[in-house]
């Protein structure tokens, strides 16, 4: 249970922070957008699961970091894509904000925190932790952080979602805009 909770918190934080960072880079550099396309494809090949299994097998990181890191990275990619998407469809707002003296990066941070899908994707990292744990059970059975993934331990994460949501909202509200 401690592994699940620890990984979930790490995953949510990593998803939001890395997603915002990648998105901001994507706003400024075309190369970062290209990297996002590649990471989206890599995400679909279960590459992050394999990466987590590799880290666990070699004992490079603890199970909490492997699990939370993989789930966080998986969810950071959609967040970064949405930050870029918003900038595409909201060029006028961006131009207005920049004209008022706001930096592009700050504008991106603000739009990320206001964007619902990105926020939900960060929260969904908690669900993703359960899924990655199930995957790691197959890929690295000897090192998997959880011996069994069934309905009961999965459902215990729901209250965590209840707690994490207002906390994440408060964190976002404090972001400088």
């Amino acid at each position: 249970m401690a592994t699940l909770v620890g990984s979930s918190l790490l995953a949510v934080l990593l998803a939001f922070s890395l997603g915002s960072l990648l998105g901001r880079l994507g706003l400024s550099f075309g190369l970062a957008r290209a990297l996002l396309d590649i990471l989206t494809q890599f995400r679909a090949t279960l590459g992050f699961w394999l990466l987590a299994a590799l880290c666990l097998q070699n004992g490079w990181v603890s199970p909490i970091i492997a699990l939370g890191g993989a789930a966080g990275l998986i969810q950071a990619i959609p967040i970064a894509r949405w930050v870029c998407l918003r900038s595409d469809s909201g060029e006028l707002n961006a131009a207005r904000a920049v004209a008022l003296g706001q930096s592009t990066a700050r504008h991106a941070a603000a739009t990320t925190s206001r964007q619902g899908a990105a926020f939900a994707a960060a929260l969904f990292a908690i669900v993703q932790v359960v899924i990655v744990a199930a995957g790691l059970r197959e890929l690295a059975p000897a090192h998997a952080p959880l011996a069994e993934i069934s309905i009961i331990p999965s459902l215990t994460l729901l209250p965590l979602l209840l707690i994490a949501e207002p906390l994440l909202r408060k964190l976002m509200a404090r972001l400088p805009t």
């Binding site: 590649i38 679909a44 090949t45 990466l51 619902g116 899908a117 197959e138 890929l139 309905i151």
Partner: protein, 474 residues
């Protein structure tokens, strides 16, 4: 048009780069300890001239291991070494000439087997033989002549044609392997029956074809020969300086794997791992289809229904709309983890999991957009107009979701559906990696990469167009 070309070029480039990334992870996670070529870039690719030079250097140092390597390199070594023999000491020359005797026997010269001692008289005869050989057959050791000799031999195995082929020895190998082709018909089998013993004789590898070998067995042997040449073919080639750039990339583990997968995809040879991957992906396709249907038909509908609820009861907590969705996603995933779930439960689970995943994201997106001013306008409209407004609001987000939802759509079939006692795709990926066989995971990965890259190609311009349309509407 320029935009389309740019996007198509990016489709290829991004797919290739992701394949490289996946390959690096797979090979790092693979537990095989077999000797490997460099992974992506070979700074010192092997070539026949390089190998011959290093063998001559070893001959100067009286290294005992050269005999086997010289016999393996065959006439290619002789052509390179004989003009340079003068630079060696008499003892080194003797070592080289003795090591060349099995090659002399292979070229069809039976007298080579008579003098197996290091008698100086025999050695001078050896030297004379090789000097005459390189001078007389100089014209045969050119690529067009080699192609002509091999093709003429394949037309009918006459003794004169066989002698011509034997005289070429290892120089004929690249052409012989190229002539193997794909094995589908009886004619292909007959051609392989000629080629396989000749290749086995020259490489001294134990490839055999029994008299009653069927096309499948022949194809298997041919695939083994190609695998050997993927790794060792450089020994029998002497590329031009510019071609060495290609060798730097082609003599790598990545190129070997891409070659194997490519030949399997083009139907040149049978690859059991590839066939298994396609069969498993085909078996998982109903689940994947159900997942897509759930994600992009049921998911937006659930989100729209919850959005309508939020317009009707705006004071209710936002969490009340989202948490049940996350709960259902977790429950459906947990249920699919149970063993022996019936087929329809699996399909329903795939659809429900991806639908709730997408609905979870879209609902929160709508919640953010339905602020006080929008709600006050929508409350006064009819249900249908509300629904239309909601769908219009989240359509760019839903479209942008398509490429990133591929993981959520495929993971349930990959992780859970192993019907009829068959292991799941993920279990097979794990097993392949333990055995060091990367074709199966690479084939599955390539299928997903192509799917995502194609979806990106289609949805990226659509999202831009929809976004622009919405801006004009606002």
């Amino acid at each position: 048009m320029t935009d389309l070309i740019r996007r198509l070029l990016w489709w290829f480039t991004s797919s290739a780069l992701t394949s490289v990334l996946l390959f690096l992870v797979l090979i790092s996670a693979s537990s095989s300890q077999a000797s490997r070529l460099p992974l992506l870039f070979n700074p010192q690719p092997i070539s026949s001239s390089r190998e011959a030079e290093s063998l001559l250097a070893l001959a100067k140092q009286a290294d005992a291991r050269i005999e086997e390597r010289i016999a393996r390199l065959g006439t290619i070594f002789a052509l390179h070494a004989i003009p340079r023999l003068g630079s060696l000491s008499v003892a080194s020359q003797a070592r080289v000439l003795i090591a060349l005797r099995p090659v002399r026997a292979r070229t069809g010269d039976t007298s080579a087997q008579l003098g197996l001692d290091s008698d100086p008289k025999n050695l001078s005869e050896d030297l004379l033989f090789w000097q005459r050989f390189t001078e007389e057959r100089q014209l045969d050791f050119r690529p067009p002549a080699r192609t002509r000799i091999v093709r003429r031999w394949l037309q009918g195995e006459l003794s004169i044609r066989r002698r011509e082929l034997f005289a070429l020895d290892t120089y004929a190998l690249p052409e012989l392997v190229a002539e193997l082709g794909s094995i589908k018909t009886e004619e292909d089998v007959a051609r392989a029956r000629l080629l396989v013993p000749a290749i086995a004789r020259l490489t001294q590898e134990p490839w055999r074809l029994t008299r009653d070998a069927d096309p499948d067995q022949v194809s298997h042997t041919v695939a083994n020969i190609r695998r050997y040449f993927d790794r060792n073919g450089g020994l029998y080639r002497d590329p031009a300086p510019l071609e060495m750039v290609a060798e730097v990339l082609s003599q790598t583990e990545f190129a070997v794997l891409v070659g194997e997968v490519g030949r399997g995809l083009l139907g040149i040879e049978r690859n059991e791992d590839l066939e298994r991957a396609f069969l498993d992906l085909n078996r998982a396709s109903p689940g994947i289809f159900a997942g897509f249907l759930g994600a992009f038909a049921l998911g937006p509908l659930i989100a729209a229904a919850l959005g309508l609820g939020r317009i009707r009861w705006p004071r209710l907590s936002r969490s009340l709309w989202e948490l049940p969705l996350a709960g259902v996603a977790l429950l459906s995933f947990g249920l699919l983890q149970l063993d022996e779930a019936p087929g329809y439960v699996e399909l329903g689970g795939c659809a429900l999991f991806s639908a709730t995943t997408v609905a979870f994201l879209l609902t929160e997106e709508l919640n953010q957009r339905l602020h006080f001013r929008v709600l006050s306008v929508l409350v006064r409209r009819s249900t249908m107009r509300r629904l239309a407004a909601l769908l219009r609001e989240f359509s760019p987000t839903a479209l942008a979701l398509v490429p990133v939802t591929v993981l959520e759509v495929v993971l349930v079939p990959v992780l859970c559906s192993g019907s009829e006692g068959r292991p799941t795709i993920l279990k097979q990926i794990a097993a392949s990696m333990t055995e060091g066989q990367l074709e199966y995971p690479m084939a599955c990965g390539l299928a997903f990469i192509v799917a995502v890259a194609t979806l990106e190609l289609i949805t990226n311009p659509l999202v831009g167009a929809l976004g622009r349309g919405l801006k004009e509407l606002h």
